[in-house]
């Protein structure tokens, strides 16, 4: 099964793809229903998402707030621009660390792929430097390691 891929376009775009073993409607739901997002969209172990607002309609807000047991926290806010459930969304987002990062425009598509879904996120980053640094940290290799561990677990 193809897992995460990452490629660049032009100076400022990163395209990430990932295949899931569930149909587009379910993967779309998992990306847009707060009760589901709060179960998986948690980042590193030890974090929870006590606040999750997700309004998948044009102009709808998103607000994700993460926290850990040490009292640390950060958040993401954004706005949906286009929503074509369960096929495609376009949204703008920024992280608050706590100062906001530059706006990142993300087009997400959920395409049927056999009996699963091919997720594609096209991220328009604010400038070439941000993208260069993102890629220079070996993002794709780290992700691949994680997914290979997952593959091994499923193979058992």
């Amino acid at each position: 099964m193809s897992k995460l891929t990452l490629r660049t376009e032009g100076d400022t775009v990163v395209v990430v793809t990932r295949r899931f073993a569930a149909p587009p409607a379910e993967v779309f739901r998992a990306h847009t229903e707060p009760a589901l997002l709060q179960q998986w969209c948690l980042g590193p172990d030890g974090w929870t998402m006590p606040v999750c607002v997700c309004e998948p309609r044009p102009g709808g807000k998103m607000r994700y707030e993460w926290a850990n047991a040490d009292g640390a926290g950060f958040s993401l806010t954004g706005e949906f621009v286009e929503v074509d459930a369960p096929h495609r969304t376009v949204h703008i987002e920024r992280m608050h660390l706590p100062d906001p990062t530059p706006d990142n425009r993300i087009e997400t598509t959920f395409a049927a792929d056999g009996d699963g879904t091919l997720l594609t996120m096209r991220m328009q980053l604010p400038d070439a430097a941000t993208r260069a640094m993102m890629l220079s940290t070996g993002m794709e290799h780290g992700m691949e390691d994680g997914y290979q561990r997952l593959d091994r677990r499923w193979a058992r």
């Binding site: 073993a21 948690l42 590193p44 100062d99 070439a128 941000t130 640094m133």
Partner: protein, 110 residues
């Protein structure tokens, strides 16, 4: 601006990134850094000042020259931030796989 903003602002220029790429190969004088660029030495010096103020390079005094090199752990804060995002994505998708696999409606399918 906080540290991350300062770092990103300093990196948001192709000449400054090219200077950093050159310094990744080792220390260099201003004259050496100027050679590949069709711009003046004062312009290069301004870029070096931005990089120095962002903590990305350090300079030492060597007679009349002030050679530059990459600062140790120059991108530490940015690297930590991006590593957190990367690891976060990995773990999140693993959880989503498990969530999708646990969905009762999936188990009814052939």
């Amino acid at each position: 601006m906080n540290g991350l903003d300062t770092t990103l602002a300093a990196l948001a220029d192709p000449t400054r990134r090219a200077i950093l790429a050159r310094l990744a190969r080792g220390e260099a004088t201003v004259t050496q850094l100027c050679a590949p660029f069709p711009i003046s030495q004062p312009a290069i010096s301004r870029h070096l000042r931005v990089l120095e103020e962002a903590g990305l390079i350090v300079r030492r005094v060597d007679g009349q020259r002030r050679p530059c090199r990459l600062a140790p752990d120059a991108l530490g804060e940015l690297d930590a931030y991006l590593a957190m995002l990367r690891k976060g994505m990995e773990r999140s998708y693993e959880r989503l796989d498990q969530l999708l696999a646990a969905n009762p409606s999936r188990k009814e399918r052939p």
